[in-house]
């Protein structure tokens, strides 16, 4: 009943909020206020630090982000209206957000619990290909490479390059066909992995509401799976997303929500990105009332979220949120490096260290090679990320900071639009029939595990 009331209130806001031109929203409600809030709350840190441990700074970033959320709200591009929440409404959203959730069914449950910075409790891990396009014949072996990893609590799907040999057109009947194919292939994966109740991040072939709604019904993806809704950068929603949420609310589905604040975009640098990130997660919860919330963000040119200068911004924003709310925040490794390179492991490791010590409830990834290279994804980088995640549970921010800095030194050379280390596709790194890593990739992974132990004292 509460969910229905919340949904109606959100939909009302999309249809009654003040009308604003989109460019005016970008400049007057995003760009200018963020720059003012950076000054008002003195949001800055030492540029040589890649993971801050300053609680006062984290709280100031939270206050700045909260103020942005309150004064800016969310822009609905379908109605050209600015959806706004009162302070009392936002405070209620924060106070009533769930602090724990159980994903999946039967013997394959995954527990996610809100955490604080420097807390040594367990962090859940979701591994998967997160929408990386994969040919139909590779979907099952690729996703099996994740589902068979015992350290991964649940999985998130790749997307399909085609469906039954046809191109998948967004918003067309083929989107529905593709999502139903994704259902069939996903259930084959979890059954073959012996984890039939494992939650599945879905639907990854649903750019509009059509695929998600059709495949989240009888015989399809289950309410216990992990369904997605997103804010478009910066702080924008639309009817496609709101239709999905209306469906999720009625079916009682777990909702994972995410934003993608642009580093270098309207929020500016890492300081502005941190403010925007806090606002995004509060507003994700206000708009979509999900269970887990992820901030992205995305580098304007490289599309990754592991660019060294971004890490302290991500960390301080997560710290602010996890100190002041019980939101189940997540960190999501979208690496410039791809599978078959050491870079992907260094980058994912650095982000896991930042996220876990900053208090995330769930570590996600890896969207290798920024998710755009066909079939450039394997379960091995997700296994590695899970290993670092659990090792980081025992560290404080101060202990993790020098490790993060050392890792950025190892991978910063690959942070370029030219000659990016995208690695190799799945079928050149795994035995596709046996679904095991080939010796070259396995050896590289083991070398990096040893580096972590020798150089940083982390046994993975």
């Amino acid at each position: 009943m509460r969910t229905r009331g919340r949904l109606h209130s959100v939909l009302d806001k999309a249809e009654t909020g003040p009308i604003v031109e989109e460019r005016e929203f970008d400049i007057e409600y995003i760009q200018k206020p963020i720059q003012a809030l950076i000054k008002k709350y003195d949001v800055k840190w030492d540029k040589d630090v890649f993971l801050t441990a300053d609680d006062d700074l984290a709280d100031r970033v939270y206050q700045a982000g909260y103020e942005l959320a309150l004064n800016t709200g969310v822009y609905c591009t379908s109605t050209k209206r600015r959806m706004v929440w009162t302070k009392a409404e936002l405070d209620e959203v924060i106070a009533t957000s769930p602090s724990s959730v159980i994903m999946g069914e039967g013997d394959d449950l995954a527990h996610i619990q809100a955490r604080r910075p420097d807390e040594d409790s367990r962090v859940a891990v979701c591994g998967g290909a997160y929408g990386i396009p994969v040919p139909e014949n590779l979907f099952v072996p690729v996703m099996l490479s994740y589902a068979q990893e015992p350290l991964l609590d649940f999985i998130d799907n790749c997307s399909l390059v085609s469906t039954y040999g046809r191109p998948i057109r967004a918003g067309s009947p083929w989107e529905s066909v593709a999502c139903w194919q994704e259902v069939d292939l996903s259930f084959e994966v979890v059954n073959r992995a012996g984890r039939p109740g494992m939650a599945i991040g879905c639907a990854e072939n649903s750019p509009t509401h059509i695929g998600e709604i059709s495949s989240n019904s009888i015989g399809g993806f289950r309410p216990s799976d992990w369904h997605h809704a997103a804010l478009v950068s910066e702080l924008k929603t639309n009817y496609d997303q709101l239709i999905k949420v209306a469906h999720f609310a009625r079916t009682g589905s777990h909702i994972h929500t995410f934003a993608n604040n642009i580093y270098g975009g309207y929020p500016g640098g890492a300081d502005g990105m941190a403010v925007a990130l806090v606002a995004s997660l509060i507003l994700l919860q206000a708009t979509y009332f999900g269970c887990t919330v992820n901030p992205g963000p995305t580098h304007a040119n490289l599309s990754c979220d592991t660019f060294p200068a971004m890490l302290p911004g991500i960390g301080v924003a997560l710290q602010g949120l996890n100190r002041n709310t019980d939101l189940m925040t997540t960190a999501f490794a979208r690496t410039a490096g791809g599978p078959g390179t050491k870079n992907v492991l260094y980058e994912a490791g650095a982000l896991a260290l930042v996220g876990v010590t900053s208090g995330i409830a769930l570590m996600e990834g890896v969207q290798s090679a920024v998710g755009v290279q066909q079939a450039h994804c394997t379960g091995l980088e997700a296994r590695f990320t899970a290993q670092v995640t659990h090792a980081a549970e025992k560290l404080t921010r101060e202990q993790a900071a020098p490790i993060v800095k050392a890792l950025t030194e190892k991978y910063k050379g690959g942070m370029t639009t030219e000659n990016r280390p995208i690695g190799k596709p799945f079928d050149q790194l795994y035995d596709v029939d046996k679904v095991v890593p080939l010796p070259e990739w396995q050896g590289m992974y083991e070398e990096v595990c040893q580096e972590f132990e020798k150089e940083f004292g982390l046994t993975l």
């Binding site: 760009q31 191109p167 057109r169 967004a170 750019p207 975009g265 500016g268 640098g269």
Partner: protein, 218 residues
């Protein structure tokens, strides 16, 4: 170093500071000193914008600074350059070319496309921005009615790539493919896809898109 080179350095700093008043004052002073409006545009405004584009490419500056700089230049154009060109009856500022930009049907992401639009504008291109979720038929119809030189398409989602192919099909169907250069970008596109579609080029970043358009118009 010539006087205009010094002025250009000052103008760049004014643009980065986003100070429209100072920019207008400086432009007026230089023109009153005998410099032709077109010369001021070519030797001060263009190189300043080029430098700003380069700095954005490496994220030494961010989108807010670039937006502000573009707005300042627009003000200078409106208040100083255009009136001076009209008064002198000399040739106006030559456009580098006319580009139609659109995020294709099914895709509502626009930040990347907006960056390309802005970078094209600061580099002297005329841009017709159709926004997001634009149907192939509208892209082709507007390209024709606006008489553009280049059609630029963007998509973040692989499921929107078929709509890019439709644009080529529509152009072929109307027998107008050779009237436009067609370029593409966005996370879902690749050089291979661009080649497969028979596009005239692919750009990974906003800077690459500008370089591509400049090459096409050369």
């Amino acid at each position: 170093m010539s006087n205009l080179e010094n002025v250009q350095k000052d103008f760049l700093e004014i643009l980065l500071a986003g100070d429209s008043k100072k920019a207008v004052t400086l432009a007026k002073e230089v023109l009153e000193g005998g410099t032709a409006p077109t010369e001021f545009f070519e030797k001060c405004i263009s190189p300043s914008l080029e430098e700003i584009g380069k700095r954005f490419e490496t994220l030494d500056i961010f989108l807010p600074e670039m937006v502000t700089a573009a707005d300042v230049v627009q003000t200078v154009n409106d208040k100083v350059i255009t009136p001076a060109v009209e008064a002198s009856e000399s040739e106006g500022i030559t456009s580098a070319g006319k580009v139609l930009m659109a995020t294709v049907q099914g895709d509502l992401h626009d930040i990347g496309k907006n960056m390309v639009v802005l970078m094209l504008k600061v580099n002297g291109f005329e841009v017709v921005d159709l926004g997001t979720n634009v149907s192939p038929s509208e892209i082709v119809e507007r390209a024709e009615s606006e008489s553009v030189n280049i059609i630029g398409m963007s998509s973040l989602l692989t499921t929107c790539l078929p709509y890019m192919k439709d644009v080529f099909d529509y152009l072929d169907g109307k027998d107008t493919r050779n009237e436009y250069a067609v370029i593409m970008g966005g996370a879902a596109t690749t050089p291979e896809f661009s080649e497969e579609m028979g596009a005239n080029g692919y750009g990974h970043s906003a800077a690459e898109a500008v370089a591509l358009c400049q090459k096409i118009m050369a």
